[in-house]
Symmetry: C2
């Protein structure tokens, strides 16, 4: 493919364990991509920037990053990682580092979950939706949120994993969140599953009772999204979500919990797996770089 160099875009997906860097086009097409483990801030960014520099100066760079990170461009610490348990990253200026290497390149930043949702809303499982969420369940639980066609940031950004939900029938597990014990993340994240059942999610068979408990908590978290945002599509992704049948269990339970309230037809199609798989984040960062919206 012949690409006009002036329209070449760069994208960076900075995850807690892996980093992806890519070049591509405003429609989300990836031309080249490089994946490597996330280590220290300087080592990780030097590696990403060196790879990008070999490919020429991009028209813009879009970033999806783990958090907490300041995404409000009006803040003095825009693009800085905030108080994160990940060693060495608290206070690191991601945008400062990139701007010093590419001083004239516009930088567009959002959270990892928001860029993944942005891609799914433009090209994937939430295509055409103005109101949607992308929940990821892995080491933690987070959500990217789209309301009226706009990504939700608020004063900081959503911390979906830290809302509280009713205890599942018979569940006496206290939860693993260091702040809240039994918040959604404390009860339903990968580490919560490991602590409750003694095995990681990937080793629990589809008929294990763990999945009914997991579906209970996720259905109640999704009910809060429904009650607050009235979305038409909720994508449930992340490592833990890959268990066979989990989306169906969540959906069935949600219909039971809603008990005739909320639009029945909408509830039938509300909960879905991601369509773009592990490419959602980097494609979303590319769309962000190109200024192309979800709708």
């Amino acid at each position: 493919m012949s690409v006009n160099p002036s329209s070449l875009l760069a994208a960076l997906e900075l995850g807690g364990t892996k980093t992806v860097v890519a070049t591509g086009l405003p429609d989300g097409t990836i031309l080249e991509e490089f994946r490597f483990p996330t280590t220290t801030p300087d080592e990780t960014l030097d590696r990403a920037l060196a790879w990008l520099e070999e490919r020429g100066v991009p028209a813009a760079i879009g970033i999806g990053a783990f958090g907490p990170i300041r995404v409000n461009p009006a803040s003095a610490d825009h693009g800085c990682l905030l108080n994160t348990p990940k060693p060495g990253w608290s206070g690191f200026s991601l945008i400062g580092k990139i701007a010093s290497a590419m001083p004239d390149v516009p930088v567009r930043l959002d959270t990892d979950v928001n860029v993944a949702l942005w891609a799914e809303a433009a090209l994937g499982a939430a295509k055409g939706a103005s109101d949607a969420a992308y929940i990821t369940i892995g080491t933690g639980i987070g959500a990217g949120i789209l309301s009226g066609g706009n990504l939700v940031h608020g004063a900081m950004h959503p911390e979906f994993g830290h809302l509280k939900v009713p205890t599942a029938p018979g569940d006496d597990f206290g939860g693993v969140c260091p702040f809240h014990g039994n918040c959604l993340e404390g009860l339903a994240s990968g580490p919560a599953i490991l602590a409750r059942w003694g095995k990681p999610a990937a080793e629990l068979p589809a008929d294990h009772p763990a999945w009914d408990v997991e579906a209970w908590y996720l259905a109640h978290g999704i009910l809060a999204l429904l009650a607050i945002l009235s979305p038409t599509r909720i994508i449930v992704g992340g490592g833990v979500s890959q268990a066979a049948g989990l989306h169906g269990k969540i959906s069935d339970l949600l219909k039971t919990v809603a008990n005739g309230y909320f639009d029945k037809e909408m509830l039938e199609t509300l909960v879905t797996p991601p369509a773009l798989g592990q490419e959602a984040g980097i494609k979303g960062a590319l769309l962000l770089a190109g200024g192309v919206g979800a709708r």
Copy 2:
């Protein structure tokens, strides 16, 4: 005050029990106002329209209405009341009725809670906030929501009262919601307080244990708003909210529940009573009519 007739605006607040109609200016200034009980759809609207017609043709009319109501202008049933338990109102076309009386007047419609929040965000307790909510606690529980400076509608509109929260310590009350029993509305609305304690909220003294239970449920509902929207201001209003000390109790409990998570300074000032009292709805409808936003 001399008013250019071409800038005179009309506002209608259609509540479940009372209706308010007013004339005023784009900055929310009310010139004349008329309040009367809500009865049947035709009787109520005829009365409102007759009062307005005596005051000349307005430049536009803004409406805040009880729901569920279709607020999406792109829907075929825009402005229609949906399936409501209020006798005679299901399927009534509020906008159709107004348009037939005032065929050339632009009509701008939102929910009662959204217009109240719109006024509080422009002129009152959420002034300057881009991300805020207005929770009303009365016969039911509802919320108007502002995200990134835009009122949240979603596919339908929020149904905040119907999310589920953890049971308060020692509370074995099953709730009064006909759909969900113990959703937030089922546990903390005016009828829930009456059913649980045998007395209406207005008759329970400030030191009654009812208010600790009430604060528990509201704090957990607000935690969900925090986790999903990252707002800076949550107004708690409506009849039940007028109990002395309730806002302080909610705020203290919220800090305990957040346990060091979320911004501490923000949590100090997050929960507040309304500033505009019973004028919020009609002022918000006037601002909506004038196309004046919250920020």
